[in-house]
């Protein structure tokens, strides 16, 4: 019932606005026909100059190009993250069976290039042959 009354109200509005609507429509029709002929006659000299009045303008082309570039940039995958050189230090202790003294922790260094260096003990240094040991103190003198 509410919808029916609303529709009847719109009908009254339509009847009241109809004369003004027809007047506006007739005036705008005249304006539209004038613009049609203006466009028609302005297209004739442009045609002989080799221009296209109805084609895309420079702004349209620039806008389309910019949108295409933005779309292309959005489709490309993001660049890979930059990996900084880093050093991983692993600390772990090996419990020797039957010994009361706790051995020093074994320390290894892993460089970013994958090479692993291990910290050696004094006993291991002493066991090395003398030729392999380079004494820097003599060079400094």
């Amino acid at each position: 019932m509410k919808g029916l009354f609303k529709r009847l109200g719109q009908g009254i509005l339509f009847i009241l606005a109809l004369p003004f609507g027809i007047a506006i429509f007739i005036l705008f029709s005249i304006y539209a026909i004038i613009t049609f002929f203006y466009t028609f006659f302005s297209a004739i000299p442009a045609f002989f100059k080799g221009e296209n009045v109805f084609g895309p303008t420079e702004l349209d082309i620039a806008a389309s190009t910019r949108l295409a570039e933005q779309k292309l940039a959005a489709q490309q995958p993001p660049p890979p993250p930059v990996v900084q050189p880093s050093t991983t230090i692993n600390l772990f202790t090996v419990q020797q069976p039957g010994t009361e003294q706790v051995p020093p922790p074994q320390v290894t260094y892993t460089q970013s290039d994958g090479v692993t260096y291990r910290r050696v003990t004094e006993q291991e240094v002493a066991a090395l042959p003398e030729e392999t040991i380079i004494d820097n103190s003599e060079e400094q003198k």
Partner: protein, 239 residues
């Protein structure tokens, strides 16, 4: 003394029936007009939104930066869109007039499309004698009381075949023309109504003192922060 209004208005049975029919007739006419109103409103709203399709590329690319620039470009686009639509209707109009002229040459006189006796499309319609419509007096007013006398009954005339075709063709052209002009009008109204909204910002609910989203140093700087009066100590209360 209280007057009963029903005593003052004495209606005959035929007048009551007439009033009931008139009431329902008015309701039906208003309902149909309401449907027309709704249809035209929806059509124009849909056609007005066509500006979005025409201007989407320019607006989304960020090249449109002012109201004047938007209006100039959108009016131009709307005008060219009307031209693209109307050029077909215009060619159809020229063809219509060419057919009409050619038929008139064969008939050796200008074809009367509204002639209901032999060659017009109105031979297929009823023709009433509106000048002699029966009238009656109702509450002092002279109103129509019956159908007008019938002057002509519909019949098919071979001589009127070009008129039938031209009438159908003409109705199609008129419908196309009305639709295209209404579309052009709707786009123009849309540009006038909505272009300002694109370049204005509603600041009614904008709070200059709200720095909740600002960086911490700006919040601590005291910029745009309203002055807050220190609370006065409340007097001690007993109990």
């Amino acid at each position: 003394m209280i007057l009963n209004p029903y005593i003052l208005i004495k209606l005959s049975e035929s007048e009551k029936r007439f009033l009931i029919v008139l009431f329902f007739l008015i309701v039906v006419v208003l309902f149909v007009c309401g449907l027309f109103y709704e249809g035209i409103t929806r059509f124009m709203a849909r056609q007005g939104e066509d500006i979005g399709r025409l201007m989407a590329t320019q607006v989304e690319s960020g090249y449109i930066s002012s109201l004047k620039q938007f209006k100039r470009n959108s009016y131009r686009k709307s005008r060219l869109e009307f031209y693209r639509q109307f050029i077909k209707t215009f060619i159809m109009m020229i063809i219509w007039f060419a057919i009409y002229g050619t038929v008139s040459i064969f008939y050796r006189h200008w074809l009367d499309l509204f002639d209901y006796t032999s060659e017009g499309f109105t031979t297929l319609l009823w023709k009433f004698d509106y000048a002699n419509t029966p009238r009656t007096t109702f509450f002092g007013m002279s109103i129509i009381s019956d159908w007008p006398p019938l002057l002509h009954k519909p019949f098919f005339s071979a001589k009127a075949i070009p008129s039938y075709l031209l009438a159908v063709f003409g109705i199609v052209i008129i419908i196309l023309f009305v639709g295209q002009v209404l579309s052009y009008l709707a786009r123009t109204i849309f540009i006038i109504q909505h272009s300002k909204k694109m370049f204005t910002r509603d600041l009614r609910d904008y709070k200059l003192s709200d720095l909740s989203a600002a960086p911490a140093e700006l919040q601590e700087s005291g910029v745009n922060i309203p002055e807050v009066k220190p609370k006065e100590p409340l007097p001690p209360t007993n109990g």
